[in-house]
């Protein structure tokens, strides 16, 4: 078996991950907005007698990387040096995509140009002469529609074909002459031999910070070679070269007005844009809740029946299965339809291409909170899962802006908190339950944005990075794509239910039933809860609620399973014995704002590189939750 490594590189949202999935047979998360992939992913393809390591890299427009995700892609290409690069480009936008192609070719790594989205090229009536394109660039060109399957043989043969050595002139002679002095300097230093000579020469001419840092790390100092306006002249030369190619190989209809243009005219309208955004958000919210309600009720009834049978089993086993497993874990499993439909709805939002438009619309509002519209995407994704949403902040360029985005993300109410709101709303707010939950979502956005102002002030963040985002074409989400998205996200909930939630519930049941033959009021659980509950007593939370919130720190759903275990199977009639409508809503607010779950804290540590920020987030969240719930109750009791 021969081993080779192929890396997938290209601009954001051109179909790299779709190609990766098609090559490796995996089901990595794919969506229709730029910046979905923020980390390096690897997979394996077995082809003939080749063992091919396929590496999917984050999208990048140029090798002059700024944000973390771009740096990951650039560093891999420069330092790891894969055997082959599949440079995936959007066939409908050659001019923009070929800039990166030229930079990749300059690194000297064998490159295959994968001309993707050829179905769209056909739809738009664009004609591309791929043979001529291959000739002009001196590399293999393969046409694909990655979302609809690929010809692996074609791609692999291109990867293994030796390219003809062609010499084409991109840069004018005066610029080439100026390069030669830098080239001589690099060739003289052995420390720099591991880097591509051409790439390093041009990057140093451009005064690229990463290239400059290589020189610094090697303990060298670049001779004073002033290449006048180099970066501008280099960029112009590259675009001139691209224009000459595109002129020769592409024919596109003169005036093109696509359905995407038509929709964008209205969706990004200065007056209609925001009402349309609110309408879409409402439909997604209401669709998720209404369609999952009958399924959740059916599951709930099923667990009730199972609980009755379980209680018939004599001794502790019946109590453990009935009160612990079925009443506890079952109270969370009834939310499986809700969680899956929430991700299904988010999948529609992400796959359709509307996410970028939403970010564009919210940009003006976000700037008032010293955040760019791009920071809105992690916030919106936080409604699914904070831990994975925090990773998407890698697309933000400003370091402090990114840190602020990480810190405010736990205030976006994730799907794990949803069961808490639903249980409390059903028990206390009747027909106003839906509105109570929607209000928590609105408060969640308000708190997150307000905290952005506070954190910007604390961190003395004066960065106000401009917002540039690509508007992808609108797409009708496919059933397969939505299925993969929903399952890949929703399965974590099932895993949690079978793992951490089950474990925590077993611990709660054990604490509630020990010492043996004691009532629940005298159990270890009650003793622990009663010891800590004075802290939360001013909020009207008794020991049951206190203990459930403590266990909820591990995973938010455990708050519900803990209450479910105490409730002996009837949580809706149990809750009014320990809470009233005011304290119930205060508990919803508390659950929204208090500590991020363990997974989110771990991601925060990973992304900020320090324990300081997750600890800060826990302390800040707890304080804010306490004050908010307390103030809310005081005002509510005054009004009622």
């Amino acid at each position: 078996m021969k081993e080779i490594t192929i890396a997938l590189m290209g601009n954001p949202n051109v179909g790299k991950t779709s190609l990766f999935n098609a090559l490796t047979g995996t089901h990595q998360y794919v969506a229709n907005w730029p910046g979905v992939t923020v980390e390096k992913k690897t997979g394996v393809l077995k082809w003939k007698d080749y063992n091919v390591n396929v590496v999917d890299l984050p999208g990048i427009y140029t090798l002059n990387a700024k944000s973390i995700d771009e740096q990951i892609a650039r560093d891999y290409l420069v330092n790891e040096k894969p055997d082959v690069i599949f440079n995936i480009i959007d066939g409908t936008n050659l001019r923009r995509n070929l800039y990166l192609t030229i930079q990749i070719i300059e690194t000297g790594v064998k490159t295959v140009l994968v001309l993707n989205q050829m179905d769209e090229v056909k739809n738009l009536d664009i004609k591309i002469d791929t043979r001529e394109l291959s000739k002009r660039l001196g590399i293999q060109v393969v046409e694909t529609i990655a979302t609809k399957g690929i010809n692996v043989d074609d791609l692999m043969k291109s990867a293994l074909t030796q390219d003809e050595k062609i010499k084409y002139m991109i840069y004018p002679m005066d610029l080439e002459n100026e390069f030669s002095s830098i080239q001589t300097f690099i060739q003289k230093n052995e420390n720099l031999r591991s880097f591509s000579l051409r790439w390093l020469t041009i990057s140093l001419s451009e005064k690229d910070p990463y290239a400059m840092s290589i020189i610094e790390k090697a303990g060298l100092s670049l001779p004073d070679i002033s290449v006048h306006d180099a970066s501008l002249r280099i960029a112009k030369a590259r675009y001139d070269f691209i224009d000459s190619i595109v002129k020769q190989i592409e024919i596109r209809p003169k005036e093109m007005w696509t359905l995407t243009d038509a929709l964008d005219h209205v969706f990004t309208h200065k007056i209609l844009g925001i009402p349309i955004f609110i309408s879409i958000m409402w439909m997604i919210f209401e669709f998720t809740f209404s369609i999952s309600a009958p399924l959740s009720d059916l599951l709930s009834k099923g667990f009730d029946v199972l609980g009755t049978y379980a209680h018939a089993i004599p001794g502790w086993a019946g109590s453990f299965i009935g009160d612990g497993l079925i009443s506890g874990v079952g109270s969370v499993l009834t939310f499986v339809p809700l969680i899956f439909f929430l991700f299904f709805s988010m999948g529609i939002l992400e796959d359709s291409g509307y996410m970028s438009r939403a970010a564009f619309l919210i940009d003006r509002i976000m700037h008032r909170f010293k955040l760019s519209g791009r920071a809105f995407i992690p916030l919106l994704l936080g409604f699914g899962c904070n831990a994975s949403a925090i990773m998407t902040t890698r697309t933000l360029e400003g370091e402090k802006e990114r840190l602020v985005s990480v810190l405010i993300n736990p205030f976006a109410t994730c799907s794990a908190r949803l069961p808490i709101y639903v249980v409390l709303s059903a028990a206390f707010f009747g027909s106003f339950g839906g509105f109570a939950i929607f209000s928590i979502y609105l408060i969640s956005i308000f708190v997150a944005l307000t905290m952005a102002v506070v954190f910007n002030f604390i961190l003395k963040n004066k960065e106000n990075s401009p917002f540039i985002i690509e508007m992808p074409r609108y797409k009708l989400p496919t059933a397969k794509g939505l299925g993969i998205y929903t399952w890949s996200r929703g399965k974590h909930f099932l895993k949690k239910a079978g793992g951490i939630i089950l474990g925590a519930t077993a611990v709660v049941w054990l604490l509630s039933n020990l010492p043996p033959n004691s009532s629940i009021g005298n159990s270890f659980a009650a003793q622990i809860g009663k010891t800590i509950s004075p802290i939360l007593a001013p909020l009207g939370f008794d020991w049951h609620v206190t203990l459930s919130l403590i266990f909820g720190g591990v995973a938010k759903e455990v708050t519900v399973t803990t209450l479910g275990t105490f409730a002996n199977g009837n949580i809706e009639s149990f809750l009014p014995t320990i809470l009233n409508p005011v304290t119930a809503y205060a508990l919803m607010l508390f659950a929204l704002l208090y500590i991020p779950c363990a997974a989110t804290q771990a991601t925060m540590k990973m992304e900020t590189g320090s324990y300081k920020w997750p600890i800060f987030s826990v302390i800040w969240g707890l304080s804010l939750a306490y004050i908010t719930a307390f103030v809310f109750e005081k005002i509510a009791y005054l009004v009622i």
Binding site: W257, H265, L272, I276, E286
Partner: protein
């Protein structure tokens, strides 16, 4: 197309009013937004600008999405009622009926406009 747009605006305005009367305020807001999408495009259609078609197409697409969502939500609510109370109540029926008529109309409008949109290129 001008007449079709007037008709669509009128239809969604009626749906808005009926939804407000049945205290379904957020859905009424969505219906009102669709009404406005059509109304904002009227002058452009009148002046034969291509942005007029943009409003008509977006309005019909938003309308189709809204009606599909609304019917699913009503059906789900009816089934939920059946599971919990044993009765299958399909309320408010008048809103459902108007939504269905508008769905068929939006579907016709979309396919009609698609041809016109291609020719407008």
């Amino acid at each position: 197309m001008f007449k079709l747009m007037i008709l669509a605006s009128f239809g969604y305005a009626v749906l808005t009013i009926f939804m407000v009367l049945s205290r379904d305020y957020m859905d009424a807001f969505v219906a009102l937004t669709i009404t406005l999408i059509f109304i904002f495009g009227l002058s452009d259609v009148f002046n034969n600008k291509k942005s007029g078609i943009a409003h008509a197409m977006t309005g019909s697409i938003m309308g189709l999405i809204f009606e599909v969502y609304y019917v699913i939500a009503l059906l789900a609510s009816a089934f939920d009622n059946l599971i919990n109370n044993g009765t299958f109540e399909f309320k408010p029926f008048l809103n459902f009926f108007i939504a269905m008529v508008l769905f068929i109309f939006s579907l016709y409008l979309f396919f009609h406009l698609r041809v016109e949109f291609k020719n407008k290129k």
